[in-house]
């Protein structure tokens, strides 16, 4: 009786998961932006997707690093301009996202794998992914050309459609002014579908292969997800699914082999694709294994920095601030950082951060070696605040601790204010 129950449970679980999988294969691309409107200066996974998609359609040629900098900004604006979006503002809202999603693909696993491994890569559409890892300069140029061509074709197509669309809209606008907006939306969708359909025809074979790839990717992704969630029933299933997947693959390969015979001209391309499929499948598995091992995926490989300062400058300043004022309240640390910056800007002091910090007899922490203590996060934050324009000292270029100051000269300086243990002066 008990055995029966377990058997029944297993059967039900298998059935539901298989049907779930069956349906989910037909769900369109699962990767998508989050809800946020992305604006310049943003960092994180949305920006990685944005850059990847913009590179896919040939608008973005920089490094995919997860930081929305200037080159990404121009790419977004040009994209918005070419695809007739109402506002060319560099803000990536819902419309722009939809437009991007419909016109590009995003191989998330591929991108994150390269990022996590610190590899140089590109993500141009129409170029096999295998060629996009650690590409040579020539390969990049070639891929860029292909993407640029696709970009131009798409733009022409879009403009032609936009004209048609406008003509239709004008007619309808006369009849129904009130419902105009709704209809526009619908038309957009329809046009996009048409567009896609046309593309499908043109790139039938490529897309077929890609869809297969996607299906496989998704299957595997789900396998892994389920693997995490449920433990026992699932091993059996996995085996079944793997068998299925393998059967699918074999079937596909057979089909493709037949096609190859029929279409000898395109043989090579498909072989490449097959190889790519296999490779990608392997890559995906590896990437997913890694992802499950350490869930932390890199959100970006670059950082925003305030104009004029490098990470090393900030590090050096944090060292000085920490050596000089650990134990002081936060505002006192910002103040010390601000003094360093005020000195850099002042004509009577060296005009580099290092020059100011290492000036002989300028800072006690430098003279006694305390500058080489490892600074904490708070010191770094204080430095960032100071660099971003917060100056609690109101322009001071000197400060001293009245309890320990030995120089009588420093007492003669006009004092501005006291923060914590330090007196800040002109």
């Amino acid at each position: 009786m008990k055995n029966m129950r377990i058997m029944l449970m297993v059967a039900v679980v298998t059935f539901t998961s298989v049907t779930f999988q069956f349906f989910s294969i037909h769900v369109p691309e699962a990767h998508a932006f989050s809800e946020q409107t992305i604006q310049r200066g943003a960092t994180g996974s949305d920006v990685i997707e944005l850059q990847s998609r913009l590179q896919y359609n040939g608008y973005y040629h920089g490094t995919i690093d997860g930081v929305y900098g200037w080159s990404t900004y121009w790419a977004v604006r040009n994209f918005q301009h070419m695809f007739g979006l109402d506002e060319v503002d560099g803000l990536v809202g819902q419309k722009t996202k939809d437009m991007l999603r419909n016109s590009t693909k995003f191989y998330k696993d591929f991108v994150y794998k390269q990022i996590n491994e610190g590899k140089k890569f590109t993500h141009y559409g129409g170029v096999p992914l295998a060629q996009q890892t650690a590409p040579s300069e020539q390969q990049i140029q070639k891929a860029r050309q292909i993407a640029e061509q696709r970009k131009q074709q798409r733009e022409q197509k879009y403009k032609a459609q936009a004209k048609e669309q406008q003509a239709q809209q004008n007619q309808q606008a006369q009849q129904k002014q009130q419902e105009q907006q709704k209809q526009q939306a619908q038309q957009n969708q329809q046009e996009q579908q048409k567009q896609q359909a046309q593309q499908n025809q043109q790139e039938q074979q490529k897309q077929q292969a890609q869809q297969n790839q996607q299906a496989q990717q998704k299957q595997q992704a789900q396998q892994n997800q389920q693997a995490q969630q449920k433990q026992q029933a699932q091993q059996n299933q996995q085996e079944q699914q793997k068998q299925q997947a393998q059967q699918n693959q074999q079937a596909q390969q057979k089909q493709q082999a037949q096609q190859n015979q029929q279409e000898q001209q395109k043989q090579q391309a498909q072989q490449n694709q097959q190889a790519q499929q296999k490779q990608q499948a392997q890559q995906n598995q590896e990437a997913q294994n890694k992802a499950t091992q350490n869930k932390e995926q890199k959100e970006s490989t670059a950082v925003n920095l305030p104009g004029g300062y490098s990470q090393n400058d900030i590090q050096l300043m944090s060292n000085a601030v920490y050596g000089e004022s650990r134990g002081e309240p936060y505002i006192g640390q910002v103040a010390v950082a601000a003094v360093i910056l005020n000195r850099v800007n002042s004509a009577t002091f060296p005009n580099t951060v290092a020059g100011v910090i290492f000036e002989p007899r300028a800072f006690t922490a430098v003279a006694d070696g305390q500058i080489w203590l490892t600074p904490n996060e708070q010191a770094k934050k204080a430095v960032l605040d100071a660099i971003n324009g917060f100056d609690p000292t109101e322009g001071a270029i000197y400060y001293f601790n009245p309890d320990t100051a030995t120089s009588s000269w420093i007492w003669g300086r006009p004092q501005i204010k006291r923060i914590g243990k330090h007196i800040f002066c002109e």
Partner: protein
Amino acid sequence: MIRGIFIGILSIAVIGSGYWGYKEHQEKNAVLIQAENNYQRAFHDLTYRVDQLHDRIGATLAMNSKQSLSPALADVWRITSEAQSDVGQLPLTLLPFNKTEELLAGISDFTYRAAVRDLEKEPLTDEEYKKLKTMYTKSEDIQNELRNVQHLVIENNLRWMDVELALASGQKQADNTIIDGFKTVEKNVEAYSESDFGASFTSMNKTGEGFDKLEGKEISKETAIKIAKTFVQNKVTDLKVTENGEGSSFGFYSVSMHDKENNTDIDMDLTKKGGHPVYLVQNRDIKENVISLNEASNNAREFLNDHGFEDLDLFESAQYDNIGVFSFVSIVDGVRIYPDSIRMKVALDDGQVIGLSARDYLAAHKKREIPKPNISKEEAAKRLNPSLEVQQDRLAIIINELGQEVLCYEFLGTINADTYRIFIDAENGMEEKIEKLKNPEPIFQEV
């Protein structure tokens, strides 16, 4: 008896020499640290100068007019010679450092000759532009490598004196990162990304220290507290007010508050005249990142509106971990007034404003009559470097090198992957300012 004296003398001698040894040791350490600091300064200065060099050469490439080209080349030459003097101060006698020195010498020669000759009569040839371009890419390679070494030096606490001592004592340490690091500089590897230093922007140049344009009456300490409370969104306790010291160029109150809910201190300065906020800063833990940068910028704008800062336009936004930092500038008749800038800091967990710095705004803001531009936008655009692809343009008021406010056409454009901001005087068509805008900097791989 004699033995007692002997022991006494001996122990005094021991103690004396011990003390002497200790003093010697201290002195030696002090000298070591001083020498070390000199080396560190020379090295960090060198990296900074190479950063600057790359940046200035880039800006030179974007220039068009001869009037600005000569001083720009002279500036590059100045930076090069400073960098050369930094190299000269480093203990690199035994290390291969030729390529960097060669590059610096090459740039120095070229820029000196170009800067002193009359570019009106003898403009830069295509060949020379090409040369300038290769210098630009080469300096980037070296810049990246130097930064990497600099990162290693800071990260691992490497001391130059250790290298010196190691070299002096004849022990060759194979794993000495400073030596190895400099060897990699010489390998001249391909640059792994576009990154640059970015010139500091208009608003960073502090002008008019005194806040003489402020409006309003003198406020009392009590009013200062009242005003301060309106700038914080949570309940605050332990409010303390202090007045400015005598050395300050303007009168202000400093208010410190404690926010119990977040267990953090909030600090703020207000001008005595009119009670305008100079800055406000709080430092609290922001664990997760819930709202978008866009939403945060809207919050910041609303906050500014609520506090009477109107007609402002967002012009910079950036995310640092879980904090959004924004710069706003005044807009008058569609013209951006760069001197009137305000910086905001917003927490990305709940969207609260956690920082504001209105110093520049208070110093520069006033009623302005915007003059009519003398030359048209098209005419101004003709002054641009032909290889610049203009992406955006607008009118703006900036403070020029002489500290005057001037109306300019602002062009944002790209040359290859780099973005430049170029200001052309709307009065006479002069190139007022050319800057290469900062690209994101790659995070250094942990080595």
